[in-house]
Amino acid sequence: MYSFEPSDEQKMLIDAISRYATNDLRKAAHDAEENKELPPKLISKGWELGVLQASIPEAYGGFGERSAVTGALAAEELAFGDLAGALAVGLPGLFALPILVSGSEEQKQQYLPQVIAADWKAYTAALIEASFDFDPNELKTTAKAEGSDYILTGEKTFVPFADKAEAMIVYASLEKGTKAFIVPKGTAGLKVGAEREKLMGLNAIPFFKVTLEGVKIPKANLLPGDFAPVLDSSRVAVAAMAIGVAKAAFEYSRDYAKDRDVFGVKVAQKQAIAFMLAEMATEIEAIRLLVWEAAWAIDNKKEDASQKAYLAVTGAVDMAMMVTDRAVQILGGHGYIREHPVELWMRNGRGFATFTGLAMV
């Protein structure tokens, strides 16, 4: 039966996240970007909201059940506060959720409790590779079986917090398809770049190149399940965050347009601007429903969940670019100045085309 309303439980969670996003993340966002660092206390506070913990069943130390819909709602709300903060808070999920979704029973028991029992610790994942036509289903990083081990070889980029990570999931081609491998820190041949990567946005997060030079890991570290549900989950997460950023940009530019005088009226009273805002709001709402549908398809194990997740993220990428670009445009010259957050959101906005792999629900 159709319904477009979150459950009471979900609303409560969203309320809590919303307070954190508005009072903490948003307020810290500008300085974090400029200083290239998120305050550790800020991340801990977000971690204590327990979004990831609530996705992990009790048997593995959590207190809930994974729901992509709930995850998408949470991701949107966090990213509404600040995208870098949202990614940092959700970072351990990059390691835990693939294990939950595609890992073996032993892997779940071995790794999940340690990730979620403790304070926030860096657990990460390495998916993206530096080629213009990067395709998560055709990775250049390879895994080869050798006796009782796999040997991983290749180069990854955009690996968040790789320098501090306790362990990471490394995605590599095994025979024809993509598979996920657990690689603990300090494994021989695992080389984290000496310097942080310098990106257009997300400067508050330390990203690194990671080189795998014949990294040898036991066969037990291969996640036996398929890669598809992991990719679907990441696509939905990234799409949901795109909505959060777009919503932030929309609201900020709407409020600015209502406040700013021009030719004796408010900027928002000009149809040229009012129509831009109307289209932004419509686009956000339309794509949000598409993302919810994809998340719902994942939760209900629909056959076409992968296609829906793909459509959702593809739509969200365009929506986010359109909305964030317009937000800067509506502020005019002021939008171009870093004192206003819209230029940061515009940089975020372009990034969503590349961010699959940096978030999970």
């Binding site: 159709y2 477009f4 805002l277 709402e285 598409l290 719902w296 992968s306 739509g315």
Partner: protein, 411 residues
Amino acid sequence: MIDFEIPEKIAGTRLVVETVAVNMMRPVSRYFDEHEHEIPWDYINFMHTATRAMGGTSMAASEGKKEGPHFGFQRLAVMVEVLSWGDAGIYLDTPGGMLGSAAVSAAGTPEQKERFLKRFRGEKPVFDAMCMTEPQCGSDTSAIRATAVLDKEKKEWVLNGEKIFVTSGHKAMLDSEGFIVVWATIDPKAGRAGMRSFVVEAKTPGCQVTKMEHKLGIRASDTVSIVLQDCRVPYENILGSPEVVTADKATTGFKGAMATFDATRPIVAAQAIGLARATLELLKEMLTERGVPIRYGLPRQKLTSIEKDVIEMEIQLRSAWWLVLKAVWMMDNGKPNSLESSMAKVRAGDVVNRITQKAVEIMGPLGYNREYLLEKWFRDAKISDIYEGTGQINRLVVARQILGYRSSELR
């Protein structure tokens, strides 16, 4: 709890309607496009018989005060989407209560509802129509010049004016014992506050169908002009209060019309979606037949230009459909939905035009050829961005809502 599963009750109806669309609409689509002003009686009679058999007066099942969740508007949206997938023009010839009845339902008394709506339960198919647009005003309905003057002695309203672009006006007034709902002012000085709607039944003296338009598309549907010349209707044919109340800008008459739009805009949007879906399905089928299947899941850099276009169409179509369903779901659940219904209309109007235009472009000479329906659908699509509020008017409605502006603040 967020849920995208079609309710079982609606799924059954959808299946039935799909059979009608496939068997009774598609085979005659081209014929009625090329024989403008001919009436698809086979479809009309079938729909009338089927609706009667189900005990309804129109597709919009009235559920009354029944306990439990309401599905009426969701079901209607799904049915309209499928029928419009069959043929957007023929769909408009569906007998039974449409826009005129929507106005009666929204603003009429129980007696009026009984008196005007019972005709749809009769032996023969009956139509209704809405008369709002005039030669000098379209979207700006507050500029309506048609007048209604009360003849106190005879207790009759005397209507004068000219209405144009009346969908199904010919069928309502000349091909059946139907009625039209005419918007007129009872006090020209009162502006919107003076606006009221009146039911004018078929064969009322002084009411004449004067012109049938020739259109770009939806040719199976008649669009007429209607002239009212000292047209007298009983006092009881006014919908809503005859008092003009202007205090606090309470424009009850006008608001009645606008409230009707909250219900009808998502339905018109559903119609756009059905046509867009038909187009996208045929496009994919034609491409696949010619060895160009669409691959999903690849990065854009690896897609062909055609694949990128088709995937984008699919995103637009699905997301617009959910906007429509959300708007009718809100309607069924008694949630105010002015914003959502206008959003749905904006998006669906955009989407159906982009999709049909792109489909003709992609198929090249095949798209432009009348051998295929793509060119017809391109022509049929355009109306979705025009009637029931143009895309621009609906943008204005959305903009006012999100900005919290009154119409005087955002013109």
